[in-house]
Symmetry: C2
Subunit: 401 residues, 2 copies
C-alpha cells in the first residue's frame, strides 16, 4: 500500500509534472545517466499551414542505436510532461524520469535492446523548467522582440509528431520498433501510426484515446477558463514577471482532480484529518477546508515553472485531435498497419475507457491486430500509469511480438 501511494505521489505528475516528486528507488543500483540535447529546425510549417522559424525542442535517449538503425522506440509524453522519461541527469537527482520503472536495462522497455528516444513537444507546459527546451507562445518572437503570446500559430498533435519525425530523421532513423505514450502521449503515438504507417510497427496507447469527442473537448475548455479570467492574462500579452499565475494554479488544481478519483482524496483526507464540518470554513467564508488547501497549494507550487499560454495551446492541440487528422476516426485510421495495444483504466474520469475502446474497435474492424487490457483500480486516470508497471510483462511481450 505504501509503495502504491508513493507511486501515485510520483505519478500525480502524469498531467502535472512535478519538480518535487518523491524519489523512486531505481531497479538497478547504478542510475542510468542521461543528457538533454537540443534539436533545431530553421523553419517548420504547421498542420494549419503557418510557418515558425527557429523551432527548438529538447530530447534525450536511452540505450544504443543499432548499426541498422532498426531498434528505435519513441516515447511521447503526457500533457504536462517532458522528454525526461527515464534515468537521471545527475546521480543525486531526487527523482528519475517519469517512466523509469518501465525504461532501462533489463526493464520492460529494455535499453540493452532498444534505442529509446523522447522529445519535448512544441508548446511544452514547463516553459521555464531549465531542463525543458520548447518553442511556443512564451518564446521570443523575432519580429517583435517580445513573447509571441497569441500570435503563435495553433499547433496540433500532428505538429508534435512532425517535429519528432524530423528529429529522428536527423539521427538517420526511418522506422520505429514502437511508439509508446500515456495520455496526450497516446494521441501522438496513434497519430504517428496513422500519418506514417511505413514507419510504425507497434503502438502502445496508455490511458489514451483515438479522438477528442464533444465531452472531452468541452472538458478541456474548462481547464482554460481560470487562466482567461485572471486579470493578469491580458488576452495572452503578459511577461513572466506579470504572468497569470493564480489562474494557472487554479487550472492545475482542476486538472489534478480530473486526473484522480475519490479514493485518492480519501487517503489524503485521512492524513489531514479531513471532516466536512471544519471550524475554519464554518466561521469564515474566506477560510478553505484543509483538503482544498492541500490541493491548491500543491498546484500553486507547480505553476512556478509553467506557462499559462502554453497550457491554452496544449488544450487546443488536444481538442483538435483525431488520430490521422482527417474528418473522422475511421478515415484517419484507415492506413494503420502497426500492431496496437491499448491500456485504458476503468476508473479514468479524464480520458474515459470508452475512448480507447472505440479506437481499438475501429482498428479491429479494419483488420488491425489490436489488443486491449483494461486496468482496474481506484486511482482514475493515474491508475493507468500506476498499474502500467504491473503490466510490464504484457508490454514486454507486445514489444517482442
Amino acid at each position: 500500500m505504501l509503495r502504491k501511494l508513493s507511486v501515485v505521489w510520483l505519478l500525480t505528475s502524469v498531467w502535472l509534472v512535478s519538480g518535487c516528486a518523491a524519489a523512486q528507488p531505481a531497479a538497478d543500483s547504478a542510475p542510468m545517466l542521461v543528457e538533454k540535447q537540443t534539436f533545431t529546425l530553421p523553419v517548420f510549417t504547421t498542420f494549419g499551414g503557418q510557418k515558425i522559424e527557429n523551432v527548438k525542442v529538447g530530447w534525450e535517449s536511452y540505450g544504443t542505436l543499432s548499426p541498422a538503425k532498426d531498434n528505435a522506440i519513441l516515447i511521447t509524453h503526457y500533457f504536462s510532461g517532458t522528454s525526461h522519461a527515464a534515468g537521471r541527469y545527475h546521480p543525486d537527482d531526487a527523482a528519475p524520469g517519469y517512466w523509469d520503472a518501465l525504461i532501462g536495462p533489463g526493464k520492460a522497455i529494455d535499453t540493452n535492446k532498444y534505442f529509446v528516444v523522447s522529445a519535448d513537444t512544441l508548446v511544452n507546459l514547463n516553459a521555464y523548467d531549465d531542463k525543458v527546451i520548447t518553442t511556443g507562445p512564451a518564446t521570443i518572437n523575432p519580429l517583435t522582440g517580445k513573447p509571441y503570446g497569441l500570435d503563435f500559430p495553433v499547433v496540433t498533435i500532428r505538429d508534435f509528431v512532425n517535429v519528432q519525425k524530423a528529429l529522428l530523421e536527423s539521427l538517420g532513423i526511418t522506422r520505429l520498433h514502437a511508439v509508446v505514450g500515456p495520455s496526450m502521449g497516446s494521441m501522438q503515438a496513434l497519430d504517428w501510426a496513422a500519418a506514417y504507417p511505413d514507419w510504425v510497427e507497434r503502438v502502445i496507447s496508455v490511458i489514451g484515446s483515438g479522438e477528442s469527442d464533444a465531452w472531452t473537448t468541452a472538458a478541456l475548455e474548462q481547464w482554460t477558463m481560470p487562466i482567461r479570467l485572471d486579470p493578469n492574462w491580458q488576452d495572452g500579452n503578459y511577461t513572466r514577471e506579470s504572468a497569470p499565475v493564480a489562474g494557472l494554479a487554479a487550472a492545475l488544481a482542476l486538472i489534478t482532480q480530473h486526473a484522480l478519483h475519490p479514493g485518492y482524496f480519501e487517503s489524503q483526507g485521512n492524513k489531514l484529518g479531513y471532516q466536512p464540518l471544519e471550524k475554519g470554513p464554518l466561521e469564515d467564508i474566506r477560510t478553505r477546508h484543509t483538503i482544498v488547501d492541500w490541493l491548491f497549494n500543491r498546484a500553486k507550487s507547480r505553476a512556478t515553472h509553467m506557462d499559462a499560454n502554453h497550457l491554452l495551446y496544449l488544450v487546443r492541440a488536444c481538442q483538435l485531435y483525431v488520430a490521422g487528422h482527417q474528418q473522422s476516426l475511421s478515415q484517419g485510421l484507415a492506413d494503420v498497419s502497426a500492431k496496437t495495444l491499448f491500456l485504458p483504466a476503468s476508473s479514468d474520469l479524464l480520458l474515459m475507457p470508452y475512448l480507447a475502446e472505440s479506437a481499438h474497435d475501429t482498428l479491429t474492424d479494419q483488420g488491425v491486430n489490436s489488443e486491449l487490457i483494461t486496468l482496474h483500480g481506484p486511482l482514475g486516470h493515474l491508475e493507468g500509469v500506476a498499474d502500467v508497471q504491473e503490466q510490464a510483462s504484457a508490454i514486454q511481450a507486445f514489444l517482442e511480438k
Copy 2:
C-alpha cells in the same frame, strides 16, 4: 428518445435552473396554479452562531393541509433550484415547476392527499429572479445600506432546514409525512431526519449524499475559482451593475458538465455536426469549437438572474455538509427514525453513487428501515432526475408505507 432528450433539456436545470427550459406537457389538462408567498423571520441565528436580521424566503404549496395537519410533505430544492417545484404561476407559463411530473393531483406525490410545501433556501442562487425570495450576500445589509457581500455569515444545510422548520411551525405543522429532495435537496432531507427525528417519518434522497467527502469538497471548490479570478469579483464587493458575470458563467459551465455525462454531449455534438478538427479553432486560438460555444453561451444566458457570491455561499454550505452536522456521519445519523429511500444514479459524476450507498449502509447498520434503488442510464447526475419519474410507483409506494 425525443421524450428523453426533452426531459434532459428541462432537467439541465437540476444544478442550473433555467428560465428558458423547454415546456413539458402537464399530466392533467388543467394546470395546477400556484402562488409565491413570503415568510419572514425578524432574527435568525445561524448554526455557526451568527445573527441575521429580517430573513425572508419565498415558498409555495400544493394541495390542502388536513385539519389534523398531519399530511405535509416538504420538498427541498437542488443547488441552483428554487421553491418552484410544481405547477404554474399563470396558465400560459412556458414550463411548470421542476418536479411537476412527480407532484400534483393523482401523481406520485399526490396533492389530493398531501399538502406539499417547498421553500427557497437562504443564499438561493437565483437572487435576481423576480419569483425568488431569499436572503444572502446580495441582500442589502441594514448596517451599511450596501449588499452584505462576504460580511454575510457562513450558512449551512442545517440553516436551510431551520428556516424551513420555522416556516412550517408558522403554519401549525409539527410533523412531516416525508421530506423529499434531489441533490442538494437530498442533503436537507437527510439532515432534517437527523436533526429533528420526531418530525420526520420518511426521507427520499434522490441523487444524494450523506456527507461531502474530501473529493466532493475539493470538486465543489473548483466551481468557485472562475468567480474568485474574475476581476469584477473584488473580494465579494461588487454591485449588480459591475458583477463578475464572466466568472459566474464559467462556473455554471463547469457545473453543467459536472452534472452530465459524455452521452448527452455526444447527442448535442451530433446536432451541431461536432468534429474535433474544426476549421475555426484550427486557424485561430481565439475561436472555440461549436460544442464549447453551445455550453458556454447557455451558461452565460443563465447567469443573468444569478448572483456570484450566492454561488460561493451555496458551495460552502454543501462543503460543510454531514447529515446531522456532527463530527462524523454515523454520529450524525444516530437518532434517525425515519424510513429512508435512496435513489442514486450509476453514471453520476457529481455526487457519485458511493455517497448515497455509504449513507444507506450507515443507516441500515443502525437498524433504520432503508431502501436503495440505483438508477441506470447514461445521463450522469441528471439521470437521477430524468429517471426518477420512471420510479414514480416506487416513490408512491414508499410514501404509502
